[in-house]
Structures are given as C-alpha cells and as structure tokens.
Symmetry: C2
Subunit: 194 residues, 2 copies
Amino acid sequence: MFENIIKNVSRFINISTGEEKFFTDLLTCQTVPKKTVLLREGEICQFEGYIQKGCLRMYCLDDKGVEVTILFAIEDWWISDIASFQDQVPSKLYIETLEDSEIYILTPATKEKLLQEIPKFERVFRMLVQRNLSTLQNRLVSTIARTASDRYLEFIRVYPTIPQRVAQYYIASYLGVSKEFVSTIRKRLASKGK
Amino acid sequence: MFENIIKNVSRFINISTGEEKFFTDLLTCQTVPKKTVLLREGEICQFEGYIQKGCLRMYCLDDKGVEVTILFAIEDWWISDIASFQDQVPSKLYIETLEDSEIYILTPATKEKLLQEIPKFERVFRMLVQRNLSTLQNRLVSTIARTASDRYLEFIRVYPTIPQRVAQYYIASYLGVSKEFVSTIRKRLASKGK
DNA sequence: CGCGGGTTTGATGATGCTCAAGCCCGGTGG
DNA sequence: CCACCGGGCTTGAGCATCATCAAACCCGCG
C-alpha cells in the first residue's frame, strides 16, 4: 500500500521500519473523483498530498479571469499550495483532479507531528521545495526565451504521458498560449516530417 | 555590524544572544567590487549569501546564448544557486555584482554547522526557499498572462529602487523583452499622461 | 575632443491572439 | 439503430504585440 511513498521519501533520507510506520500512520488516504476541486482561491490549504494514483492540476486566474496552469501532477508527485499551507493564509490558487485519484494527505497537524518526531523529514520537504524551485526557474527561462513551438516540444519530451491524459487546452494554459495556437503548432509539426 | 541579518532571520525564529553570536561567528564578510562574477555556469556554488550592501543579479544563458535575468538582489536579500549549493552539483547559473557590495557568506560547511547547532534555522532556510518559490510562481503567471507593458509597470511598482540602480537592458532581460522594446514602452507611458 | 556604453528611433516582419465557424466523436435518449 | 447534442479540436482571416536590424543620439569621461 505505501511502498511508493516510502520509496519517494527514501530518495532523500534513510528511514527505519519503525519510522516508516510512524510516518504512514499519519497519512490519510483520500479517494477523489475526477473534476473535484480540492482547493480554491480564498481558502486556506489544509493538505500536502502525495499522489498515489491519478492526475491533478494547479492553476490560478489572471487579471481577466483566464486560467493559467501552474503545474500538472501525476503519480509519485506531491501537490499543495505550500505558501498557504505553511502560513495558513488564504490561497490564490486552485487545485483540482483531472482523473479519479488516490492521494495520501498530510495536514498541518500531522506534518507538525512528523517533523517533531522525525526531524530528518525537514530535509525531505526542503528538498521537495527546492526541486520545485529549480523546475519553476527552468520553466520561467523557457517561457521567456523560447517560442511556443519549442516549449510544446519540450513539454511532450519531459512529460510524455501527460498529453495523453489531459485535454489540449489545459496544455495550452500551461504553455501560456491560446488553445487555437497549440492546434496550429501541432499541425505544423505534423506536416514538417513529424 | 550584524543587526540587519539578525533582524532578517528574526522574522522567522526567535534567537537568544548566544545563538546570535554562534550564527554571526560562522559568517564571513566579503567585500566585492562591481561587475565581479561570483558564480558561473559549470561551477559548484559554494556560498549562500546575505546582502548587507550592494546589488547583484542572477542570470542564465538561453539556447542562443542570450542572458535571461532570473532575479535582482539588493540589501537584505539572500542569494545563491540553492540547487547547486545543496547538492554540490555544477550550476547552470551566473551570479554577479552590479555595484560594489558587501555580502555575508555561509559555506556548505558553516551552514551545516549552523543547522547542527541550532536546528530551528532549518525553518529560516525553508521559509526563504518557499518565499522564493511563491515569488517565482507569481512572476511566471505574470510573464504568461500580461503584456510587457503591464509587467514593466508591475516591476517598477514592486521594486521601485532597482530601475534607478541597474541598466535598462538588464531590466529588459528580466522582463523577457528586447532592450529596444523597454524603450518604446517607456516612451508610450511618458506620453500617455504619467 | 573623441570615445564608448547605454538608450532611443523607425522600418520590417514574425509570433501568437481573437473571433467566428465548422468538424469530429463519443454519449444519450427516442 | 439513429439523431442529436456537446465538449474538444481544427481552420482561417485579420490584428496586436514584440523582435530584429540599423542608425542615430546622449552623456560622462579620459
């Protein structure tokens, strides 16, 4: 049941069998149907979730109310609005499932307990945030410096399974282009040899 | 001498006078002239620095070798390539001074000592990374969803002192537009009232 | 006085948006 | 079994934004 998440945190720290149990006992498993909104703007994020199964996305609304997708998250990823979760302040983000999903949840209380009991988990969460930061830095540079077409190719290269799982207009809102333009990009790529 | 940095970390944790001393004893002060490169691509980042005085920027090169500014950092900011610093892997980034600067430096060794001796500093660094992450998220959304003109206005609103301190083409490379276009943006804003 | 880094200006063209229409396809009800 | 419906994808015309290139300009400084 918990092999995946154990393997996930074991990339950063070594944990004993006893610690494993303490950790997994703190988790609550949540089964969430497709198209469920887990967090919306103005709410305070009460979870930090590990995705055992499924697909979610995090997004926000721009000035004109248009959705901008911050990230897609699939199996073996963590998802949360960490700023809202940490400081218990209202979020500016939305998190929703795109498929039926199973998520292991830490709440502020259980995360606190975990860090009290096994302080080396600090390292896990710091690494997760840092990894996030690096990814986001790369994406910013990509967004600034490359054409939409290049970003599309990069996306399907780095996340080859996601285009098969989510609607194309979500990818558009991730790449920062209109859904129509993703369509023309695909057409051009298809004609130009593949 | 160390009032500023003490005040900075005190936003996140309370520290005793003894802890203050332990902390500041670990810092080495570095005086760096303008236009000095502190980190370049391929090197391993050996510092996490608090800026006591001066102005720096972090940037990387895109596919075509064009500079993309990731951030400007002035008094009371921290700067490092945290991914390279943490994992001791080669950096993809550059960090350079734009003015004569004074920086308080933690090395991997002294940071390690600090966290061993006063574990609550874990919190400080986690908060710094998280704050970075939120800022970067906002900027990504801005870059995707707003026009260059809006981003320029946002920039001078959020960082009013920076345009006075750095050349305009650095700001262009931060906003993700050509230096010429920043010029036309300014002209338009100047004519349209304001 | 001339030099050099930084900024401005203008012409031309690519990139990507908006709007409007049509298409494809799976699901649902008659 | 078929007709219809609706969500998602495609297509195309016209337009805004922004890049590129080349030239001129500004100003502090040796």
